[in-house]
């Protein structure tokens, strides 16, 4: 963890890391796994997201910062597909626009990329998600998780993906045990790139997760439960994304029950106690050099 030193010195804003991680994922997908993402689509999403960000900032008279909209654009590019360009652009506008339009208690309510996907998928058949297309190659999942870990660690929200994945995995394995299914089935489901991407890069967004540690844990666990029920009981394809959108609506209630100060980009890490303990142990104070 020598890189930790760099965090303080060089880049405080975790979004930089997120942009780097998502871009390398996209590049990787483009080259190795042959994602069918047209560059023109990517550009359309970026333009729509950044233009909306600029317009929104203008309206509320704040400094324009494109980092978040770039992250939203990258997430949409990775998770959403369409034949035409417009559904992607519309999704990007809804995603970024929701930050300015749908607010509650001084925060935006929805995870931008998430609400962009949910809205466009519900509203039209012209865009869709491709949950199966990441493949279940273990190494890819590991790569994603590794990159995700790093990004999320920076964002002080590692507890969110870990709790989300833990609860989701427990439900999957529990289901398999109950049904008497081979464990290869839950493994197959967990080795899904879209799920890992969702856990590490979407649900973990510090701006749209509760600030209190307990509320945040409930938020992640609730999303996992909802996603599980929607996928395996109700057979809804995009249950994962709907689950997060629903949790975002419930979030103010969770925050009211477990209040905490709002997160600002670059804030120091404020993890759940369990994780705080883990973290404290990490930076070992340098031992005084033995006197010569």
């Amino acid at each position: 963890m020598t890189i930790l030193g760099i965090q303080k010195g060089l880049i405080k804003d975790p979004r930089i890391y997120q942009i780097l991680a998502l871009s390398s994922l996209l590049t990787f997908g483009w080259t190795a796994r042959a994602f069918e993402i047209e560059p023109a689509h990517f550009i359309a999403i970026i333009i729509a997201a950044c233009a909306t960000q600029w317009l929104g900032s203008l309206m509320i008279a704040t400094r324009v910062d494109f980092k978040s909209s770039l992250i939203t654009a990258l997430s949409l590019t990775l998770l959403l597909r369409a034949d035409a360009m417009w559904p992607l652009a519309v999704a990007a506008m809804i995603a970024v626009g929701s930050k300015f339009m749908v607010r509650f208690g001084g925060k935006h309510m929805f995870n931008p990329a998430n609400i962009g996907i949910v809205a466009i998928v519900l509203a039209t058949d012209a865009a869709w998600t491709t949950p199966g297309q990441w493949g279940s190659a273990v190494w890819l999942a590991a790569l994603l998780a590794g990159a995700g870990f790093f990004v999320t660690y920076r964002a002080a929200r590692l507890d969110v993906p870990l709790i989300f994945l833990g609860v989701y995995a427990a439900l999957l394995f529990g289901r398999a045990l109950w049904l008497g299914d081979p464990l290869a089935i839950p493994m197959l489901r967990l080795q899904n790139g879209a799920l890992i991407l969702f856990a590490f890069f979407m649900i973990s967004d510090p701006k749209t997760t509760p600030d209190g540690a307990i509320a945040r844990a409930a938020f992640a666990a609730g999303a996992a439960l909802l996603a599980f029920v929607m996928t395996f009981q109700l057979f809804i394809d995009d249950g994962l994304f709907y689950a997060l959108a629903i949790m975002c609506v419930i979030r103010p209630l969770l925050e009211w029950l477990n209040p905490a100060p709002h997160y600002q980009w670059g804030d120091p890490v404020t993890p759940l106690k369990l994780f705080a303990k883990l973290k404290k142990r990490e930076p070992q104070p340098p031992r005084p050099a033995p006197a010569e």
């Binding site: 491709t130 199966g132 279940s136």
Partner: protein
């Protein structure tokens, strides 16, 4: 060369309307010469699924070749089916769907390098049919198995079962003459807990004799369920080796893909050596097996995705409205006199709103532990498995361009050999030998000097 191709494209496109009305067939992507249908594979099952919202019609064709009294199938179904939800159809429809969506071979002929363009044509036809029948009951049983319903439909005696636990169901099935492979009980148990019913069928020999057919016709079931999936797990329990499954999805919005496995497009559009014209079947088979290996044996392959209104080039005509209705496409008007006059023309002229997806899976329990879960996407872009033969120009052109053209051929042939080796895993030296036999030489022709061309025209060739 590119320019002349584009020209022929344009020329052919404008000629289509006229030719199509006469029933003739034009394709602007080369001559269609061969298709690779599912008969190449042993133990191949073919399943057509019509899916629109929750409405589902599944048509199952099997290539059962054993004794008819031995035939028995157990299919997990999401609901108890009424008699009217079960139907028997004709093989010809599934065969037609297979032919229409099959990977295809097309050929181009290079133009005279000294002159310019040319144009292309082709043809291929097909068939259709239908049938159904009756019976009913309900009773209970000490094994916890309930026979929810009993029917005779076509040549099949059918029972719909629900069960309380897998042991009882297994015992019931064995008592009633169904052979259950070892390990099937666990899988049955999983289905029972998911509140699945079981559709079991045997052949009614009397009814079968009346059909006068030597084979069993495809069974069809229609139901509503939020589950868009195909149960494959029971089939993997006793399978020795892999099984081949072809899924033909008929949907309204667009392409279908699997959500719990990758759906990968079959490599397409490659130029392959000329001798593949005779060997297209083995080529397709070897290529498919090679691609399965390349994708770690756990991918589903997309072989065709197309709007049912047309095709290009056509391996067979699009299905008629009657055939589509028979397969469950309920939103189409089956009656009336064939409005589909221009099947090979692109465009929404008929707006039949049927999108066909052909998926091909080679599966076993190890690589496909879970049933195939599907999703309909909004993707209406067309895809086909298509392989190209390019015949070099054979005439005796003598201009300078012709010299360059001939000199470029060995490189092209070499590319074709490499492509083929890559796609199929065949030995490249064998490929080159076959190509040489077929007249595709790798020797660069001797290039004549300009004075030889000037005065030596009627002499030996280069």
């Amino acid at each position: 060369m590119n320019r002349s191709l584009r020209k022929s494209l344009f020329a052919a496109a404008s000629a289509i309307a006229a030719v199509a009305v006469t029933g003739g067939a034009v394709a602007f992507c080369g001559f269609y010469v061969a298709k690779a249908d599912t008969k190449l594979f042993n133990k191949a099952s073919k399943v057509a699924i019509m899916r629109d919202e929750d409405r589902t019609v599944i048509t199952m064709a099997n290539d059962y070749r054993g004794e008819l009294e031995e035939f028995a199938i157990v299919i997990p179904v999401p609901v108890v089916l009424e008699e009217g939800q079960i139907h028997v159809t004709d093989n010809a429809i599934i065969d037609h769907l297979d032919a229409y969506t099959a990977p295809r071979l097309v050929e181009y002929f290079d133009d005279d390098p000294c002159m310019r363009y040319d144009r292309m044509e082709m043809a291929a036809p097909t068939a259709m049919a239908e049938d159904s029948s009756a019976g009913a009951a309900r009773n209970k049983n000490s094994l916890g198995v309930t026979v929810e319903a009993e029917y005779t439909v076509g040549e099949y005696d059918i029972q719909i079962l629900s069960a309380e636990e897998s042991g009882g169901l297994a015992a019931w099935l064995i008592q009633n003459g169904y052979k259950l492979p070892e390990g099937a009980e666990d899988t049955l148990g999983s289905y029972i807990k998911q509140d699945t019913k079981f559709f079991v069928a045997k052949v009614n020999l009397e009814e079968q004799a009346q059909t006068g057919l030597k084979y069993l016709r495809p069974l069809q079931i229609a139901f509503e369920s939020p589950k868009f999936m195909l149960p494959i797990r029971l089939g993997t329990v006793n399978a020795d080796g892999k099984q081949e499954l072809f899924v033909f999805a008929l949907t309204r919005k667009g392409r279908v893909e699997t959500t719990n496995y990758r759906t990968v497009k079959l490599p397409t559009g490659s130029n392959v050596p000329l001798y593949i014209k005779e060997d297209f079947g083995p080529f397709y088979k070897a290529m498919f097996e090679q691609q399965v290996k390349k994708e770690n044996e756990n991918a589903v392959f997309l072989e065709y995705a197309w709007d049912m209104n047309w095709c290009d080039p056509c391996a067979a005509d699009p299905l008629s409205p009657e055939e589509l209705r028979e397969l469950g496409v309920y939103w189409i008007d089956g009656g009336g006199d064939r409005p589909d006059i221009m099947p090979r023309r692109p465009g929404p002229s008929l707006a039949r709103d049927v999108f066909v997806t052909r998926l091909h899976v080679s599966y076993d329990a190890e690589h496909f532990p879970e049933d195939l879960m599907f999703k309909e996407t909004g993707d209406r872009s067309n895809f086909q498995g298509r392989y190209v033969l390019r015949h070099p120009y054979k005439g005796d052109a003598t201009c300078e361009a012709a010299e360059d053209y001939r000199a470029s051929l060995p490189k092209r042939f070499n590319e074709e050999a490499k492509t083929l080796a890559n796609l199929t895993g065949w030995d490249i030296d064998d490929i080159r030998d076959r190509m040489k036999e077929e007249g595709q030489s790798f020797e660069p022709p001797k290039k004549r000097t300009w004075w030889e061309r000037l005065w030596g025209n009627d002499e030996k060739e280069g």
